[in-house]
């Protein structure tokens, strides 16, 4: 299960809406071992595409080094689908390589944005419940 604050859900959805019809992407970092998303990091989609996203490799390097310095990990890796369901595509699955991350998909294809979370490990997708909280206990 992904437990995430309302504020972070709103920030992710707002980013997805702002970049629609292109796919939006980013990370929420959190303390290593905590499984708690805390620090919202909006990333550039280097592809600027409605059907594909890729973190800019130089930006990713800086962000990952910054997380390392803070003893953080990417707790959430999110991106949007802008014309299809919030379900991982074959491309999403083939690239997924953070075994401990929650892969969040937002779909902006509908009036009410879908917000769903998955574990993706060795090509196997497992959807998980999302618990939205006002604050972490």
């Amino acid at each position: 299960m992904l437990t995430i604050s309302r504020e972070l859900v709103d920030a992710i959805v707002a980013h997805a809406r702002a970049d629609h019809p292109d796919e939006a992407c980013g990370v929420v970092a959190g303390p290593e071992g905590s499984d708690r998303p805390e620090r919202f990091i909006r990333m550039d989609n280097a592809e600027r595409s409605p059907t594909f996203y890729r973190f800019d490799s130089q930006e990713q390097f800086r962000v990952w080094r910054d997380m390392d310095d803070r003893d953080e990990v990417p707790v959430v890796i999110y991106h949007s689908h802008t014309a299809t369901e919030a379900y991982p595509s074959r491309t999403d699955i083939s690239y997924a390589s953070e075994p401990d991350a929650h892969y969040v998909l937002v779909s902006t294809a509908f009036d009410d944005p879908q917000f769903r979370s998955y574990r993706i490990l060795d090509g196997v997708v497992t959807e998980e419940d999302v618990k939205i909280v006002e604050a972490y206990g």
Binding site: F52, T84, T91
Partner: protein, 92 residues
């Protein structure tokens, strides 16, 4: 001195869980060959017949090697090579 290679979580099964390992070589290609000798299986996760796999980013110090010389990029003692999984995907 050697070249420090930083290994992402997903590939640490090849390094006995180590976050960073040492290797040597004059180019990135040689370095990856040396890594393979020390940690069998790692090379296949980094390169294929056409060069660096698109699923990984490799950095020399803080520069993506795709913007340097790819596998031919010269490396030297004291350098740090970082491997990160590329983060990408999309609806298609």
């Amino acid at each position: 001195m050697a070249i420090e290679v930083r290994i992402p979580t997903i590939l640490r099964s090849y390094t006995g869980g180590a976050k960073a390992v040492d290797a040597s070589g004059a180019t990135l290609d040689e370095l990856i060959g040396d890594l393979e000798a020390r940690h069998p299986g790692l090379k296949e996760r980094l390169v294929d017949d056409s060069g660096l796999r698109r699923f990984v980013n490799v950095y020399l110090n803080d520069e993506d090697v795709r913007f340097l010389g790819g596998l031919g990029t010269p490396v030297a003692d004291g350098d740090t090579v970082t491997v990160l999984p590329a983060v990408a995907g999309g609806a298609r």
